[in-house]
Chain length 214, copies 2
């Protein structure tokens, strides 16, 4: 398809598509002659992903470029390719390892992974931003004087594992390796806000069931 | 306790506590004499909540004041008091009701609530920011050309309802009505990042189980 059709089918203006092409967020089309290039379904898919990251995820162009670099790195196995793409998304700052609350949280989260039987996740603790985010969140709660029932963390962990099984089942419905990785990135940008909204809506539902509306 | 002890027990500097007092985020202590005020456990609890919202939730002071106004409004029933406090937290912008994707998303989310049997949530659709967030998230996915399996939304909804049951069970372990509402707000500020971290960690675990590390 030509640029005009790519624009029509994606709902992205030709000026914006040209900008993405210049910034290297979209691979160049196949040059048909000096003024015309031809684009395919893969361009359309990539354009949608870029737009989701920029418009919905509000990621800066440099971050989008980094994420796409991992998405396209076929030298990595699937776990690392999925991981590397997600890890390039915005994360919490590095925890301060000298802080006593952070040290206690490492201990607490280590026990949690043990109880949940997440032996693979345990192998990733030194490189995983998700692990670091969890340590920071647990430390923040305890620093504020809220002691969390470890049983509750285990229950939340089991629910989130069920959600992850759904996520990956969905990722696997996509035929190509590139689409699988793209879907995982899209999930982080678009599905997390949806899950958060569903969670709050479920709280309203459950609250009204228990206490009514007065 | 005196200001110095309140500072020591909360880990918040006396200068910051005085600032919160001036801004009305913390109720004044009981004046013992012209220069000394006495604070109690309720001040300590409120101070921790304010700190969580400002330092972890990064909420502006005006928003914190609004949230606390709802937390303290005893004229509301529990569902509305919980809701009003959560609703004052930052939300997605209002959806554009003239947009065809938004209209389709209302339809889709309405069917979802029906399937899930969330009849109470259905009654709140005109006022609930969680409902609006969900409509915006669903519309964003479909506008980007991703059609979502309605069955998946139902599965995610059921998981999030289980999470909400855990949340409210935890809220109910607190004796006073004020603490219940405070815990709900704290949950939105601190537990959501923890759930998100657990979710990403579970994805890593599940991914490594399925595809290994190469």
């Amino acid at each position: 398809m030509r640029l005009a059709e790519l624009s029509r089918r994606s709902g992205v203006s030709t000026a914006t598509i040209k900008y993405y092409l210049r910034e290297g967020l979209l691979p160049p089309g196949r040059q048909v002659n000096t003024t015309t290039a031809e684009y395919d379904e893969e361009h359309l898919r990539r354009l949608r992903l870029v737009r989701a990251m920029i418009q919905v995820g509000r990621l800066p162009v440099a971050t989008v470029r980094e994420v796409l670099g991992h998405v396209d790195d076929e030298s990595l196995g699937r776990t690392l390719r999925l991981g590397a793409a997600l890890w390039a998304l915005p994360q919490v700052p590095e925890p301060d390892e000298d802080d006593e609350w952070i040290q206690a949280a490492h201990q607490r989260v280590g026990e949690l992974l043990q109880t949940l039987g997440w032996s693979n996740a345990k192998l990733l603790v030194t490189i995983s931003p998700a692990y670091r985010s969890l340590v920071v969140a647990v430390a923040a709660l305890r620093r504020l004087g809220y002691d969390w029932d470890p049983e509750m963390l285990v229950s939340y962990g089991k629910l989130m594992h069920q959600a992850a099984v759904l996520d990956l089942d969905f990722v696997e419905t996509h035929p190509s390796e590139a689409e699988k990785v793209e879907t995982a990135v899209l999930g982080a940008v678009l599905v997390e806000p949806m899950l958060q909204a569903l969670h709050r809506l479920a709280q309203e539902e459950e609250s009204a069931r228990r206490y009514g509306f007065e």
